[in-house]
Symmetry: C2
Subunit: 401 residues, 2 copies
Amino acid sequence: MGEKIQQIYEPLNSSTAIALVNRLGLFPENSALTCSEIGDGNLNYVFHIVDAGTGKGIIIKQALPYAKVVGESWPLTLKRAVIEANALKIFGSFCPELVPKVYYSDEQLAITVMEDLSHLKIARTGLIEEEEYPLLSKHIGQYLAKTFFYTSDFFLEPGKKKDFAKQFTNPELCKITEDLVFSDPFFDAETNDFESALRQDAETLWADEKLKLEAAKLKKSFMTEQEVLLHGDLHTGSIFASAEETKVIDPEFAFYGPAGFDLGQYLANLIFQVISRKGSSRENIYAHLKEVWETFEDEFSRLWKEEGKEVYCKTQGYLEYILEKTFTDSLGFAGCELIRRTIGLAHVKDLDSIAHEAERIHAKRTALQLGRALIINRQQEARIESLETIVKDSLLAASLS
Amino acid sequence: MGEKIQQIYEPLNSSTAIALVNRLGLFPENSALTCSEIGDGNLNYVFHIVDAGTGKGIIIKQALPYAKVVGESWPLTLKRAVIEANALKIFGSFCPELVPKVYYSDEQLAITVMEDLSHLKIARTGLIEEEEYPLLSKHIGQYLAKTFFYTSDFFLEPGKKKDFAKQFTNPELCKITEDLVFSDPFFDAETNDFESALRQDAETLWADEKLKLEAAKLKKSFMTEQEVLLHGDLHTGSIFASAEETKVIDPEFAFYGPAGFDLGQYLANLIFQVISRKGSSRENIYAHLKEVWETFEDEFSRLWKEEGKEVYCKTQGYLEYILEKTFTDSLGFAGCELIRRTIGLAHVKDLDSIAHEAERIHAKRTALQLGRALIINRQQEARIESLETIVKDSLLAASLS
């Protein structure tokens, strides 16, 4: 190890990873440590180091300078590791119980050493298995309320907020979202990926100028509105959960953007569960949709009233305006997520794992129709109950078509 | 001079200013140079150096580390000199004929050496004297179209735009606008300054929750929407003009903000002329209001169609949406400017120089009413003709009250 490893990036392996945690003194001396690389993403190494004696573990996450999915041909900034570590620290300062603890981070090596959460399951996996997470959406609602409020101009001194916005300028990862969420799925782009049975649906969508105009506005909002420090990729694969615990991980896409974006991605990924489930097991997910919004609304309103620093926080109707804007934005962003996960580059297991082809195509068609409905109608729907209505209407329409 | 002056800030005086231009070789050797400090602002020194032989001059602007108006008690960042010099260079790259040339800038000394424009008059002064500027609003419309388009996501590569936004993070000067334009005039703040005859009007305004809600939204837009690189202080005192020429100066408030802000400040400062003029001489100003918008609209639309890089530039209705948003935002920002220049800290000579007290109070009351109308009704008014109607209605209402 020594000085050199502090200066130059090199990928860790099991033995250098163990040497690092020993150097940091994160385990008692002479612990019998084992190390395995457990990353299932395509952008990072994830080393799980366990003390065989006590069973206690820690995680070392190291950013790779390229995306594994396409070999070394897609270079990616290592700065995202710094963004992630700093975002975890900031989010952890508002809701320590909902974010993994960071023990150490190293900018040159692009690593973050953090809490081992291997006793939890990725929420997407658990939801697909129809596990119940009675606290998940309450926790996410609290997480969103706190991270939104405490990083906004309603609480932060304006200069401090501008410092944060500068620090979290994240052009490379924002570009991925700008292209893969907001642009490519709405055009006949090379990155798109879908079953040939969906070609007609995709072509109809690409020709839908009304939809594209609204997608353009949502992309513009994503690119210009510095409302809050976002997670930036808050789908159910970025959440570890159990019946008791919830931990939001992987904020490497963090940047200052529109508050509705994180909420919208979470809503959309719950909606994939509504679409892929059958019958009464959908009700559980409708309850999640309602709970995340209602918890967010209650907690954000409480923070606004008790801790709002902006002089206009006391102005009649301003809180309601912010809540309504956040909600309607989130429906639009949810619509984009539904569409891009269906015909864009990166899919979700919720839909792709439906074995029966006709059922899978039907589910994807429903996702596209629902995505469109949310984007087009978002301004008319100012209440969470409307979301359930839109979803149910789309499911009904799809079942009749 | 030597090394030391490159390292440490110190205020220039006439002899060090002359030594600087000699060192830079901006005049022929052995020229007989005279120097006078001509700054009439309160934030900067402005040295005018003239070659007595040829009559040619140059300007050295040096930022002061405090605001002169309140002695040394209001410290101000010197970084604004760098912001100003860099903004002049960027704006000048799009419309060289509308911005002073920058010959040299020095970050440590907080100076910008630039083109001498002393053959021109400050537009506010000329307008008060009822000089005609047949090209002024055409030039400003072109300036706005080019600076907006070429610094927006519609043209710039997204990473480059984010670099610019970071570079032009300008918290101290934005804070002045946030407080003095968007907050203080709408509350009983200590910075406010108005004749006692206006107290009742001010108190009515401070109790107007409907108005304050809209002001809150405009402040939020100013603080969060990174649409374009703004001048940030584009009133008629920031413009040099003659019958043939127009030069936009002093962009020390430059930052990435909502496109309608610069346009709104320019509109409002023209409207002060409508209010302070009488009878048919108002028509000239109505023509300016129409011309700046129509030139902006035409030129921005042309750039969008010919050079738009954003994939959605071809989507039906998107250009119209952007134009409408820019226009309605600008009406709201114009309303804030009308109000803050009337009861806030910094006034305009257009109104303050009206000698007859009853006339002056009447004019200011009109400005307040018109400011309110523009802020409240901005969403309903999507055409430039409506602006003239609102202005005329307010003048009529004021004359009857």
